[in-house]
Structure formats: structure tokens, C-alpha cells
């Protein structure tokens, strides 16, 4: 038995080492989320859904705000409207990603009506939240590199693709950067954009608007997230711009959204920066997500708003 155990242990060691090596090949091309589960705990975070994941560029924030926040390194920890609406799952995830030793961090919380709504007749029943079955809930480890758990449990394509991607670099439209920003590069010819926008709006109209309802629990978790981050730095609620047609749908879902968020901001003594009224200043890939170059300008505008806010002492601790 001893000899058998020795041989087996050697074999398992070889397997584990091989697997560890193959896993280390995973990068920003692997999938739109993986790298966010491998980076260490972070001192400054950008939170929200895919609008924030694509729309807010950490490198631009870091460059524009380095006078106010020296050595700022923001990290985009946004996912999708299904993975990371505000709620218990996202709250736990943020808790795991946050470097609790930080005191002068920067936290951008992107908000929109979908992020505080649930696709259910019982929008406050946390057992019905869709994100309960997805990677933020099923992954226990958020700061491991390579993250074997994530690769085994959440990565749908064969792991062999990690090897193939290294041999022949794929032409990906989506690349996840080391700072968590999801860079999307797709054709922006106006006819193509219009077609994508119509499709996206139709999808939201047919599959989301009839079923999503405002969730008081999610709003509570947004407030809870603010409370969590309050002792670690400055917090800003940001409503990102969208196409007119998407905005019209959001108005139908939650016409009182801005009032609610303004109230939340005042109660928590934080700023609510609302870009919805300047939505025409930006371009969108599909009416919902901001295009790359517009994202650079938007991020710069967010930084500018933050600088102004600091100048007028928005924040009182």
C-alpha cells in the first residue's frame, strides 16, 4: 500500500503541476470575467454592471485624479446586469475584493434602474435572484492566480482553449485588461450600430421590461455597500449615459429612479453624478454600452466631476 500511495502521490503531483501550468496560461482573452478573480485585493473599485465594466476606464481615472488621490490604482470590478446587480451576492464579492486596510480609496458605484431591480414577481425574494447560480456566488476564491476554482466551475469553453489561444492569438472583440476594464472593439459603422441598438432595445423591451421590478432589498444592499466602503475612502454614485431609446425604457421601469438615488446620496452624504442628461454627448456600441473612445471621454468627465466635488467639499466624513 505504501508503494501504491507513493506512486499515486507522484502521479497526482505531476497532474497538479501540469494543470497549474495550463491554468497560468489564462489571461484577458479567456473570458470576460476571469482576471477579476485572480487579482489581489484592491484599494479602489469601480462597481456596477456591464455598462461600467466597458464604460469606465481605470487608467484614465488614475491619470486624471493623481493629484487628489496619489498613487491611485482603481480596479474595475463590474460584471453584468445578471451577475452584479446590487444584492447579497455582489455585496459578498465586493467584501472579498476590498483591501480592508485602505483608508483613502476611491469607489465609483455605477447605478441604473436594472441594477436595483429583479426579474421576478417577488423582487425582494433573495432566493430568486438570478446571480445566485452564477460565478460571483459559486466561486469562493477571488484573489488566486491562477484561479483553478473559477476555471473549473465557471469556464464553459474547454480548458484546452487556453493552450490554443497561446499558440494562435485569437482576434477577440472583448479583452479583459489587468485593471478589470473590459475593452470591446467592434465595428462602429452607423448602420451596424443602429442595427445592434434596435436589437438590444427590442431585447430589453421584450425580455426584461415586462419582468423586472424594483427591489427594495437591492436598494438596501446598495446602501449596505456604501456603508461597507465608507470607512475606506470616497464614494461616488454615478449614473452612466445610455441611448435615448434605452433611457425611455428605464423611465418606464423606474421613473422615480433619480429621486431615489438623490435621496440615498443625501442620506449618506455622498455625491450622485448623473450623466443621463448628457447622453447625446457619447456614442454607444448598442444603445446600452458606451463605445471605447466615448468611454475615455466619459471617464475623464467623471474624473472632472470628482475634482469639482472635491473642490467644493462634497464629502464630509
Amino acid at each position: 500500500m505504501k508503494r501504491f500511495l507513493f506512486k499515486s502521490s507522484l502521479f497526482l503531483f505531476l497532474v497538479f503541476t501540469s494543470f497549474l501550468y495550463i491554468s497560468s496560461l489564462a489571461d484577458g482573452n479567456t473570458d470576460p470575467f476571469y482576471l477579476r478573480f485572480t487579482s489581489p485585493k484592491q484599494t479602489s473599485l469601480i462597481l456596477g454592471t456591464s455598462r461600467a465594466a466597458q464604460g469606465i476606464q481605470p487608467a484614465v481615472l488614475d491619470a486624471k485624479l493623481d493629484e487628489i488621490y496619489p498613487e491611485l490604482k482603481t480596479y474595475n470590478f463590474s460584471f453584468t446586469v445578471v451577475h452584479s446587480p446590487y444584492g447579497p451576492v455582489y455585496y459578498q464579492a465586493i467584501n472579498k475584493k476590498l483591501d480592508k486596510d485602505t483608508k483613502n480609496g476611491l469607489f465609483i458605484l455605477a447605478v441604473d434602474p436594472w441594477a436595483i431591480s429583479t426579474k421576478s414577481e417577488q423582487p425582494d425574494d433573495t432566493t430568486r435572484f438570478l446571480e445566485n447560480e452564477l460565478s460571483l456566488a459559486t466561486t469562493h476564491f477571488y484573489n488566486l492566480n491562477p484561479n483553478l476554482e473559477y476555471l473549473l466551475e465557471n469556464h464553459n469553453t474547454p480548458l484546452a482553449s487556453l493552450i490554443f489561444n497561446k499558440i494562435a492569438e485569437p482576434e477577440n472583440q472583448m479583452i479583459l485588461k489587468d485593471n478589470g476594464w473590459l475593452e470591446v472593439s467592434i465595428p462602429m459603422k452607423s448602420s451596424v450600430v443602429e442595427e445592434r441598438t434596435l436589437e438590444k432595445v427590442e431585447e430589453y423591451k421584450k425580455n426584461m421590461l415586462p419582468y423586472y421590478k424594483f427591489s427594495a432589498v437591492r436598494l438596501q444592499y446598495l446602501a449596505k455597500t456604501i456603508n461597507l466602503l465608507r470607512n475606506h475612502g470616497d464614494i461616488y454614485l454615478v449614473r452612466l449615459p445610455v441611448d435615448d431609446r434605452m433611457y425611455a425604457l428605464e423611465q418606464k421601469l423606474m421613473p422615480e429612479f433619480d429621486t431615489l438615488l438623490n435621496k440615498l446620496a443625501v442620506e449618506n452624504n455622498i455625491a450622485y453624478i448623473n450623466f443621463i442628461n448628457s447622453r447625446k454627448n457619447y456614442r454607444y456600441t448598442d444603445g446600452n454600452h458606451i463605445e471605447k473612445d466615448s468611454g475615455t471621454r466619459l471617464t475623464a468627465d467623471i474624473a472632472s466631476a470628482i475634482r469639482k466635488g472635491k473642490q467644493y467639499s462634497f464629502h464630509k466624513k
Binding site: F11, L152, A160, I163
Partner: protein, 487 residues
Amino acid sequence: MLFNSFEFLLFFPIVTILYFLLPHKFRWFHLLAASCIFYMYFVPVYILILFFTIIIDYIAGIVIENAQGAKRKWYLIISLGANIGVLAIFKYYNFFIDNINDFFNLTSEASLPLLTILLPIGLSFHTFQAMSYTIEVYRGNHPAERHFGIYSLYVMFYPQLVAGPIERPQNVLHQFHERKYFDYHNAVWGLRLILWGMFKKVVIADRLSLFTNPVFNDPQDYPGTTILIAAIFFAFQIFCDFSGYSDIALGTARVMGFHLMTNFNKPYHARSISEFWKRWHISLSTWFKDYLYISLGGNRVTLPRAYFNLFLVFIISGFWHGANWTFIIWGALHGFYSIFALVTKDTRNRINKALGLSKVQWLDNTLNVLIVFALVTISWIFFRANNVQDAFYMIQKLRSIPGELVHMLSTRQFAQLNFPVYTPYVLLNFALIAFLELSHVLQIKYDLADKFSERPGYFRWSAYFLGVLAIFLIGVFEKQQFIYFQF
């Protein structure tokens, strides 16, 4: 816990190593405790249901053995009643209530209440295994087990607790009394079986499910050709899922020196429906044959009655699989296939002779295998479909395949197939199925397992390494539960 989980990767070696380190007299307790932990990983409180039936069956076994006359029968009825009662409440109550409510068109206020409880995992398996014990004691084929712990272990032995094979007391009970020593040969065979089972489950079955699930869940979104591919994929998915689980169960037990019964024997190589049922889920089909079909009279009755018995057994077998009309129809289809085969046997033989097929054995066999596979695959559509309407829709959609193929080939527009996964993965699926069948053919022709054992050490270890690597590189690790767990 699932076999294809990180927790089991830790659980199995710890339990096995401790098993061999412990003195023999404590081993039953160790295995029983491990089995309790294994079962309680799902819904802990349901272990009370298990112990409820264990206590009843344990007492019943002893009383049946000691009693005379009618008392023996009464205790058998109590034991069977307790097991079937548990099944009826947890698995079938809602089905009957739903159908009563629908039949009488009862409104939500007037409708009979449903139970909101989860189905205890493996319920159908361990109740049937428990029932086989009391029946065998009643028939005098096996003495009652006096050791409560050993009897509990018979019901709860973790490798086969949740999805079989459904064992007989003659095969298994004595093994729990025997002193087991670590045997290198058993360990190697067991681990090989586990590796092969994992490959079938994680690489083949779960990869096929990425295609079949979207198609079966929304069949109206797919053309007939894709539905046919999904049906074929599902045939192999359920085989690999279930036989993979069985292999892992057998391998896990074998490492510790326990021999469980083979549950699958290349079922898609069957040349008739009756042969299919001698190769598929052997432990269940023999259970139904020995305890239901023969008890009803089997074929020792008039022909119409024999056909009725056969049909009834298949209906009940379908119902065993799930509380849904789709499973009942699946069972009924197999009943119909079996009866049709019996009724038309002479006619078919005459046709074969007239066509000269009986002289070309390989052609005759191949045709029979393909026909049986086609019939079984059609029945699997009912088995997997979410409801009867979907199943009939899918069957009906198959008629449009010729037109679709002509259109696609003439216009070269294959995007209409609307595959739910990337086309390379569809090709990968076909390649995996081809690999599986090739291994079956080689096993028949060359006794692959023995030939493999004779190869040099570097060859075997390289093969193990590649097998494990293949599981990691091509496998699907999202928590895909074994299909038969829901039974």
C-alpha cells in the same frame, strides 16, 4: 456530494486510506459514518427518512425469518409498504394531486394542496435495494442480517447510495462481513474505472448536455435536423452520464475491495429491444423482472396476459424514473416495442430469410443495431422532454428534416441549423461519440482492458496522465448533476 466535485476528490482518498488503516471490527462503522456524511451533504435532514426505512426493514427481515405463516407476509407487506409509502409521498404525491386538480378543473382555491418538498436524492434506488432485501429474506434466498450496522451499510453504502447499481443482498451483504486487505490489483482496476467513468461523465456527457439542454428546453427555436442531432446526443449523454456514474461507483467500491454488479454492457450494440434491456441499467431491469414480472406470472400465463404483464412492468419502470407523463410514455413505448417484437418475430424472420439477410450476418446485425438505436433514441425524446407537448412537437419536427437538408445543401446556408454551441464543439461531440464507440468495439474484439494491463508501465502511466489531462482540458466542470440523481 457529487462524484465530479472537488469535495469528493478529498473525501474518497481520506475515507479509503482510513478504511485500510482501521482494524476490521471498526470498518463497518467508518464506512457507515462516511456514507452518512456523503448523503447529508445534499439535504441533511433527509437522512431521517433513510433511517426510518432502514429500521423498519431491519426489524421486518428478522421477524420474517423467525415467523411462520401469515405473519411473514404481513411483515413483508409492512416493509414494502413503508418503502413504497415514502416513495409515494416524496416522489409521486404532487404528480397525482396535480392530475386530480387538472382532471376536475379545480380552481386554485378549491384545488388540493401540493407538498413543497425536495425529492430526497437517490430515493428510488435505496428503497428498491431495501425492498430486494426483505423480498429475498421472505423467499428464503438470504438470511436476515442480524447486525444493524451492517444492514444499514447495505442500504447506505456511499458508492451506490444515490444512483445504484441496485444491489441484491446475496451479492453485497457478505462482503461487509469479510476482512478486506489492500490489493494492488483492485486499487488499479478501481482507479481505472473511476478515470474512465469521469471521462464519460465530465468530458462526453456534460459536453453533450451543452448542446442538448437548450434544444430540449426550447425546441421551437430549432429546426428538425438540430432536434435530431440533439436526440442522438442525448442518447449518448444519458448513457455516458449514467454508466459513467456506475463506473465511478464500481471503481470506488473496488478500490476498497468490494465488488458491485455491472450495470451497463454496451447497450447501443443491442440487436433487439429485449437485448437492449439486458444491457441497459441491468440492476433495475433484473429487479423488475425478478420481483414484479415473475410475480405477476411472467410468461407462464396466457399470451395476452404475458403481454399485459410486460407492458405493465415497462409502464411502472417508466413511472419509477419520474413523476411525469413523459416517463410513463417512455416506458409505454418500450413496452410497445417489446410486444411488437414478440408478436412479429416469426414474420420478421421470414422477411430476413427472403431478403437473404440471415446469410450476411454482419449486415443483419448492423441493421438490427441501427433500428434498435433509432427506436431507443425516439423514446429518449420523451424521456428528456420537459413535457408531453414538447416531445410530440419534436417528433413531429423530425418530418421536416428531408426538406431542410435539401434546402441547406442547395443554398449552402447552414446557419439555419442554429446550433446552440459553436460548430467546432458539435464536431468535437461527434468525435467523442466515435471515440466511445470505437473503445466499445475494441473491447469486444480485443478485450481492451486486459491488453492494456499487459502493456509496459510507462505506457500505462502515460495513458492515465493523458486521461486525466483530457478530463481537465475538454471536460465541463460547471456543477452538472448526474441525470439519474433526480430519480
